[in-house]
Symmetry: C2
Subunit: 351 residues, 2 copies
Amino acid sequence: FTIIVLPGDGIGPEVTHAARQVLDAAAAQTGIEITYKERLIGGCAIDRLGTALDEATLAECQQADAVLLGAVGGPKWDDPTAPVRPEQGLLALRKGLGVFANLRPVRVYPVLVDASPLRPERLQGVDLLVVRELTGGLYFGEPKGRLRQDGREGAVDSLVYWDYEIERVVDLAFQLAAGRRGRLASVDKANVLETSRLWRQIVQQVSRRYPQVQVEHVLVDTAAMRLVTSPAAFDVIVTENMFGDILTDEAAVLAGSMGLLPSASLGGRGGGLYEPIHGSAPDIAGQGIANPLGAILSAALLLRYALKQEKAARAVEQAVERALQEGCRTRDLGGSLSTRAMTDAVLDRLS
Amino acid sequence: FTIIVLPGDGIGPEVTHAARQVLDAAAAQTGIEITYKERLIGGCAIDRLGTALDEATLAECQQADAVLLGAVGGPKWDDPTAPVRPEQGLLALRKGLGVFANLRPVRVYPVLVDASPLRPERLQGVDLLVVRELTGGLYFGEPKGRLRQDGREGAVDSLVYWDYEIERVVDLAFQLAAGRRGRLASVDKANVLETSRLWRQIVQQVSRRYPQVQVEHVLVDTAAMRLVTSPAAFDVIVTENMFGDILTDEAAVLAGSMGLLPSASLGGRGGGLYEPIHGSAPDIAGQGIANPLGAILSAALLLRYALKQEKAARAVEQAVERALQEGCRTRDLGGSLSTRAMTDAVLDRLS
Ligand SMILES: CC(C)[C@H](C(=O)O)[C@@H](O)C(=O)O
Ligand SMILES: CC(C)[C@H](C(=O)O)[C@@H](O)C(=O)O
């Protein structure tokens, strides 16, 4: 298997290094062979190549069995009006790979309940999966740009969805729900948005193919509330790109630290894109103290979805769980383990 | 003073009735005179007039000194694809009044800390004000509608902002921040949206007029996280319409119950629109058990902003606070008081 590794900026290189070590150990155990190619993306790519993602790298990513990404961005490239920006690399990569479904599982580990801002009784049984549409909506819709009229300046972003874009991500969400607790919450703003009314209509159509899944339509404002008041009531959530961006970050904090959470972006022809949901964390970059678990758990998702090594994926997830249960904690979780020590703790328990 | 009362649907009539009683008591104490006119909006207007807000009512609202609204909507009119829908009345009212700034204060009463899903230590000192842009963005932008191409069905909503629309709401937010703790968080998604880049630019321009206010730009996904992890760090938050819709509902649950929270929509020429932020709560409508405090505190905002009766506004707010301190609780807060009993509790303490 060939995996393109895009460490990116900030703590990206540190956490992807950790994830590679875990992948290597899992590969050795399973008897598979992995070849890695490290390439540039984000701020470091801008500095060295003048673009946040060059075409050759994108082409290699399209050919590879999977792409493992760290994080992009940092204060050095933080001007949102600059012509070239790190997150353009990430957006071009998502679009170029056609990974239309971003899966963000949020589990609350019982041993980490005290790290969460929520009261413990609200956290019991929280195990949800957000499926976020990733290649449509406001992120990519046209027209997008500046407007000028009568000496006034304006701007426009376009929220556009086509039926097939909605159908494919919704269908995947139904499949995933059918394999879990059988409940799907489709989040939209159908009382205001035309795209949401189309979204709801298609969810209704697709739902006929999955009679075993109980589907509920939830307005995005209500969903933002319920994620805090009763997160355990959610199983799978499916929503469009921008709502998904907001709700997944909100959901992520339930787990106690963003540093823990992985994601997989699936769809298109390739094996998908795997990345922790945390950012580049420039404040702690280079210090060797970042939590590697988000990246390591992303590697587990890579084993599951791209390499079809379910057993190896489970083994990694169980090793992480055991390490946490046995008290291993990086600083974001109130402990003092370094990135390397936490990675070693996982490797020790991977057998 | 003339106030148009739009009770609307569900618990709307019950809570606006409570708010009127409190307004009457405040008026008697202050020596002002208030004339009320009750009109239809939302589902009940659709049933009786065929439209969610008729032109005559809108015209009266535009003439009045203030508009007090209950809530709109309910299962009877819940089909988002119906040609006439309750929330159209609300949107037409906001647009017709030109109330571009929706103020949603979120205070956590120390006596209610146990009703919140957050841990008590996270709630200390939470006292924030969200200023949501209310007459622009995805709610109203054109084009908005269905698309058709090559046998495919699509839909579009347009996120459009003009410089003056941003400037007026941001300016108001700076004014409000200057009168509070002097901190303003402007929430956008400037790494993805062109409208957000314009938004950020204008915030920077306006900030020069308010050197005493410390301004910070926060990405909407980060803001959704921080509202849960460190809500006390916020003073005033200003943001565009859709982000504001999501973030205010999320912020509202911190207080322990949506039923508690008021809002004021200001701008344009009139005296503004005042409504609790909760919905029509069809499940408890007509039972006399709804929490009237959101509506009563909206009446306090009406006294403050529309009638310029700061003393009376404070008196109402203090009466509410005292009632809560002395243990008065409706069911949403774990108590057993009826709407009427809670209203009486406030009236008793208004002196
Ligand atoms: C960096 C940014 C463009 C990105 C997004 O908004 O999708 C990030 O917030 C994420 O959620 O992966
Ligand atoms: C009813 C709906 C149109 C409305 C909105 O989205 O503005 C509501 O959610 C609100 O926040 O007042």
